[in-house]
């Protein structure tokens, strides 16, 4: 026969459950962050830059998020233009990260001749990943400092970060498995990387209804860092290409505020005479309906990345524009023909 519980026991069980849930929430959250921090210990940026074999050889600097990571490749730039490029583009590397990194890079490696910033539709809004900022030596706590608030479960309120942390832990374990190939952290691998071969895009006709992603306008959370970057570039007289890599057609149609975004970027760099905006989003600039050129994306998905095949084709297009751009500034792109590399 089923035992019945008194109301008092029920209430005490509910109270124990609530307290235990908060405790386990904090415990698991800190455990996941702890494991992540532990495996990321060897990934600080400063030693990586300090260990560069010939810093002065790097004429180009590529900045951006995961879109830039998959779209722009030093190996292809070197092959096409003979210029050596350093890439610092990855998921979670928002504008704040890019600004802080740029300062460090300038201090440790020198001022690049050319900067390429891969634009991201949500770049003003998206906050840089605290873990990435910590790799730069900044004192940033993941998930903020509201640990004592019992009303918020960290595993819920910081859900995207927890998910990313788990994926990153797996990724790092993966990097150890896969013969050490780790383009994000090892410069030699980064220089050899030319993209991921698989396309996960399923070609579907445009549905009648799907989620449209509005533009989250400047300044958003990190727009101020974009201003600081522009000031740095203007002061240094650096040739800057702000490149918007192609989006898969579904994603392109999802991001309904693309024109407003590009207009904002153009307005913000108006004072920088050496800055140019190169937009490859539309079908007139790239075959964006060819699924095999993209790793992901689709109607209702505001994010897409180029595949290896897509990146190869994209380089043929945008590097031609870069050649024209550099010629306009009187700068032949190849190694040895550039002016001296100032520290």
């Amino acid at each position: 026969m089923a035992r019945t519980l008194s109301w008092r026991r029920c209430a005490s069980a509910v109270a124990v459950f609530a307290v235990a849930l908060v405790l386990f929430d904090r415990l698991l959250y800190s455990a996941i962050n702890g494991v992540e921090a532990r495996i990321e210990r060897d990934t600080a940026v400063r030693p990586k830059l300090a260990a560069l074999p010939a810093p002065s050889a790097y004429e180009w600097l590529i900045l951006g998020t995961s879109r830039g990571y998959e779209a722009i490749h030093p190996a292809l730039i070197r092959r096409e233009l003979g210029a050596k490029a350093f890439k610092e583009a990855y998921q979670g590397k928002g504008l704040r990260y890019q600004y802080e990194f740029y300062k460090l890079y300038r201090q440790m490696v020198g001022r690049p001749r050319v900067v390429v910033l891969a634009l991201d539709y949500f770049m003003f809004e998206t906050q840089s990943d605290p873990l990435q900022l910590r790799r730069l030596g900044l004192d940033v706590q993941p998930g903020g400092r509201d640990w004592l608030s019992p009303w918020r479960l960290r595993l819920v309120s910081d859900r995207p970060r927890v998910e990313k942390a788990i994926l990153r832990i797996l990724e790092r374990v993966q990097a150890r498995f896969s013969a050490g190939f780790d383009p994000e952290r090892r410069v030699a691998d980064m220089e050899a990387y030319t993209g991921a071969p698989a396309s996960h895009v399923v070609e579907r006709p445009e549905p009648a209804e799907y989620h449209r992603a509005d533009y989250r306008p400047y300044p958003g959370n990190e727009g101020a860092y974009f201003d600081k970057l522009v000031q740095e570039w203007t002061a240094g007289g650096i040739v800057v290409a702000l490149v918007y890599p192609p989006d898969y057609v579904g994603t392109h149609k999802t991001n309904v505020g693309h024109e407003a975004f590009i207009a904002d970027v153009r307005r913000l760099v108006r004072s920088c005479t050496t800055c140019s905006v190169l937009d490859y989003a539309g079908p007139d600039r790239f075959p964006i309906a060819t699924a095999s050129y993209f790793l992901d994306g689709g109607y209702g998905n505001p994010n897409s990345h180029l595949s290896e095949a897509g990146a190869a084709l994209f380089h043929r297009v945008w590097l031609q524009d870069m050649k024209d751009l550099l010629t306009r500034f009187g700068m032949p792109p190849g190694r040895g023909e550039l002016p001296p590399f100032p520290r």
Binding site: A2, T4, L5, R9, C10, S12, A13, V14, V16, F17, A18, A20, L21, L23, F24, D25, L27, L28, Y29, I32, L153, L155, V156, R159, P160, V162, E163, I166, L170, E171, V173, Q174, F177, S178, A179, P197, A198, S199, H200, V201, V202, P205, A208
Partner: protein, 488 residues
Amino acid sequence: MEFRSAPFWIFCAAAVLVHHAVPPRWRWAWLLAASYALYGSFGLPILAVLVGLTASVYAVTLLMERADGSRRRRLLLVAAGVPLAALVGFKYLSLIGQALAAAARALAGTPAGTPAGTPINILVPIGISFYVFKLLSYAIDVYRRKLPAERHPGRFALYVAYFPQVLAGPIERAGDFLPQVRAAAPWNPQDTAAGVRLVAWGLFKKLVVADRLGLYVGEAFASPAYKSFHLVFAACFYYIQIYADFSGYSDISVGLSRMLGLRAPLNFNYPYLARSVGDFWTRWHITLSSWLRDYLFLPLAYAVTRRIPEDRLWGIRADAWTYAVGVLVTFTLAGLWHGAAWTFAAWGAVHGLYLLVSHATTRLRRRGARASGLRTRPRLHAAVQVGATFILVTAAWVLFRATSFENAWTYARYLQFKLPPAGCANLLFDLALVAVFLGLEWVQRNRPRLAVLDRMPVEVKAIGYALFVAVTLAFSVNAANPFIYFRF
């Protein structure tokens, strides 16, 4: 309303609380209102379809109950024909149109590869495959006089639209559901606790197991080339994924019913432990397979038997014909029930073939087991049978999951037994996840033998549940993945 969203769970909590607060004789009204509100949140036109089909079957079955002979049969044709026509019209018109267009092109001698024209885009009402089967079983049961026609329109409408079941089953029989609604059992805290447990377990299955395995599986099926041995694991994981996904939904559904004081039928019984494909179908989607047995296979087999006058036809025994026709037709239609694509039909047909071969080789296998000594080692024998069934069912899932025959063929072509290093971390993580999941399933299965768990103080249990919820939150996938069976 998305099942992960707070409004959905607030809706469920409100539905349960108000249900127990209103007088028993009005509970049906509250549940019907809640069910229509939830279903209507997906679109008023699809709610109109649901209400229209419910009204038509309700009215015709009342007439049918009083009729006899050929009039009764004609009324059955109407009562079953209207929902069936709706199902075919909404779900299969596009597939039929494409097949007819292809046939027309072939007859006209149009070269292969010519565009097939614009596909017919129809908004398919969510859950139509499930509630149409409920309506059909009800109409047939009334026709067979197994069940009196329900006179109360509200209770009948609730049977069809009952919110924990309308989207993806279980396909409960009216004979089990309606008496419970009439009786309106009083609130039982044990039932509520069991319901909460089931809902939590269902969410874990869906959010942690199914969705996380889905990442690995999705990648393998999206581009099978060069994934080699990962494809073997991806096929196995898909089996676990679809099981965790659908049985997770069923647990949530059954759990919500328990909280409302209603007992819903069992839909899964550890299918991966099946010892034959026939056994698999007594453990997988039980309410669908029993529906197919009672309303399709048996009538079909009976009809075939009546049409074979001799003991043998073309040298084959009549009962073998009966079984073969019944099984192949039933399973091919069962495959098509899942979706308007030929890959689903092929999946069903493959299961039909498995059963036929299994039926034809029963004696041979028995002799083989005796000769190899397996009969004297029942545990090893069971393990071999479970393993072989798992492989057969997994191979068929590839057809089910593939987006096209070409995709399935590419998948099969790239299968290799060499494990590349890329993707191994995810693989190991997912293997660990599957091990944990199966371990927890083992605990559930052996719960009666683990009475120590039930004897623990309620506060200790509360700590265990808190840990379970925290783990679910930590490892759930942060993406909106609807239940797989919502598509069907």
